[in-house]
């Protein structure tokens, strides 16, 4: 069923705000989405009704809290079609990528090995591995992009050909170009060259907008975050094949993640708890559950269809403005909702300031992708990203704001 945006918007308190008498136009969901009341209620309910710690108390409140937390795990596993034993909660996707870097890459790669990543990665899926490479002396290779913003798969095939690539880190969807990468294809390439290559995907931008099946993608690990998929900040996850997770050593040590401790030794808890040291984010887990149910009720196919259609209109609107250049693919079947653009003669900060004065929220800057900015030959871009609560009513204020910026700043 298509999404009824005007009705849906009523579930999001922030979207009812006015700024200086103007309707708020929120086009920055690729940075963080808005939060529906159902998510706020779920978190509030935990604090007002079941406030206690998880996994230890034998009393009712503790059982309820544990149930909320573990239900979030099974909800997320269902949502991305994965085994709940492989779902590790983290504070965000960055921590999920670091978990993979510390618990696998740093324990397995060394001189002579190669880690393959791409030039379009968010710093979260690049820096943890670059850092490890500096410490351990393995090589990092980068898949370039084509002129239309797709990963260059021929180059990728060459980069894995010598059979030395043991780990691949790739984004499912680019936060700047919007490109939906063929991660299944990359995984197949890597494994054809080396059977035991481990493929790690940054799914931060994919999970909010696309139906994702971890099993069908056939990858080993998948990082995601709650706050871009209607959930609260402070919770993300690393989804790992349980067989691989079983072989991994803990990243953070302490309470919760142990089975037995003596003064001299420790045995680890079973997966996934082995990777969740300390008291977890219980309210946030409850909020994430509510966000997942909200998305499931709409249906991710409907969310994707809405996104694809609206992104098409957004691209049309932007390219119709004199002096505006859009980065990334124009083929809607291989792109998500983030659209980066430049306005000739106007710096992105000035575009953002003008849009802000008209109640329009867009992101400006390097989007934590400095290597990609260098590839594109720019210092920064402006980025508009639509989500399920946006519709075509949000496009005219964007267009008018950009045109006003052109008129105001043009030299």
């Amino acid at each position: 069923m298509p999404i009824d945006v005007p009705t849906l918007r009523k579930a999001f308190p922030t979207l009812a705000r006015e700024l200086d008498g103007q309707r708020l136009v929120y086009l920055d969901s690729a940075a963080s989405s808005q939060t529906p009341v159902a998510v706020l209620d779920a978190m509030d309910h935990y604090y007002r009704w079941s406030r206690s710690n998880v996994h230890r108390g034998v009393y009712t409140l503790a059982e309820e809290a544990t149930d909320l937390y573990e239900t979030a795990r099974t909800d997320l596993a269902r949502f991305v079609d994965a085994d709940p034993r492989g779902v590790v909660f983290t504070k965000n996707a960055t921590e999920a990528c670091n978990l993979m870097a510390y618990a696998w890459v740093r324990r397995n790669l060394g001189p002579g090995d190669v880690l393959l990543t791409t030039v379009m990665e968010h710093h979260a899926n690049l820096v943890p591995f670059q850092y490890a490479a500096g410490d351990l002396g393995f090589e990092v290779r980068h898949v370039p992009i084509t002129s239309d913003g797709l990963l260059d798969m021929d180059a990728a095939a060459n980069l894995v050909a010598d059979g030395r690539v043991r780990f691949v880190a790739v984004a499912h969807v680019s936060n700047v170009l919007g490109t939906i990468n063929d991660v299944r294809g990359i995984a197949q390439l890597a494994r054809a060259a080396r059977e035991d290559a481990v493929v790690h995907v940054d799914g931060t931008q994919a999970v909010p907008q696309l139906p994702v099946s971890f099993r069908e993608l056939g990858v080993d690990a998948y990082a995601l975050t709650g706050h871009k998929m209607l959930g609260p900040t402070g919770i993300g996850a690393l989804v790992v094949r349980p067989e691989l997770l079983e072989t991994m050593q803990p990243f953070l040590a302490g309470g919760e993640m142990i089975r037995d401790v003596t003064l001299d030794s420790v045995t680890w808890n079973e997966i996934p708890h082995r990777f969740e040291a300390g008291t977890p984010m219980i309210a946030e887990a409850a909020g994430l559950s509510a966000a997942i149910r909200f998305l499931e009720e709409l249906g991710m196919d409907a969310v994707r269809a809405h996104e694809e259609q609206l992104t098409g209109r957004l691209l049309e609107a932007l390219t119709s403005i004199d002096g505006v250049t859009v980065h990334g693919p124009t083929d809607l079947t291989v792109r998500g909702g983030a659209v980066s653009f430049e306005v000739a003669g106007v710096h992105p900060h000035d575009v953002g300031a003008m849009l802000s004065s008209k109640g329009v929220c867009v992101r400006v800057g390097h989007h934590c992708t400095k290597p990609l900015m260098r590839c594109l030959g720019v210092n920064a871009t402006a980025r508009a990203s639509a989500y399920l609560y946006n519709d075509t009513d949000d496009l005219p204020p964007l267009v008018e704001g950009i045109e006003a910026a052109r008129a105001f700043f043009a030299r």
Binding site: H349, A353, V364, K370, N379, F409
Partner: protein, 160 residues
């Protein structure tokens, strides 16, 4: 926010018709390169020092209107000044960006138009880019060096 609060006409004038904007300076004594990692802005500042004074100054770079206009206004305000005086004026501007009343509004000349930028915290670094480059250029010169590159946020109290 209102666009007019941030972008005064004087600022736009400097942005559209920058003063002392050039890629080279004849007889250059010192050259510094500053970048703002937050937004990727770049600033090259070249100063010619004669008899302890700013005898010549040019900037070049890429950035938002606030950063470019502020650098332009800075070059006008400090041209011909003694180095110590230029440093003192820089500190006056820096403190103004943190909400203090400037003690030398007349000497800041068009720089005073940037006072309102202090209310937009994310843009303060833009307005400071050229001034912080100037301070670094003078400090570099006084150390006896002729070039310096700074790739981080240089909004700190003055050294010494």
């Amino acid at each position: 926010m209102s666009m007019e609060d941030l972008y005064q006409e004087i600022i736009l004038d400097h942005y559209r018709k920058p003063q002392h904007r050039a890629p080279v300076l004849e007889g250059e004594s010192v050259h510094v390169h500053h970048s703002n990692p937050l937004c990727g802005d770049e600033m090259d500042l070249r100063v010619r020092v004669v008899d302890g004074q700013v005898d010549g100054i040019v900037f070049d770079g890429e950035g938002c209107s606030i950063s470019q206009a502020s650098a332009s206004a800075m070059t006008v305000a400090v041209a011909g000044r003694e180095l110590d005086d230029a440093l003192a004026l820089t500190e006056d501007f820096r403190r103004m960006m943190h909400g203090d009343e400037p003690s030398r509004p007349d000497d800041l000349q068009d720089g005073i138009a940037f006072q309102g930028v202090a209310r937009f915290p994310v843009r303060v670094k833009c307005a400071l880019l050229g001034w912080m480059a100037l301070r670094d250029a003078i400090e570099t010169y006084e150390r006896g060096a002729s070039a310096h590159t700074v790739e981080h946020d240089d909004d700190r109290p003055p050294s010494g």
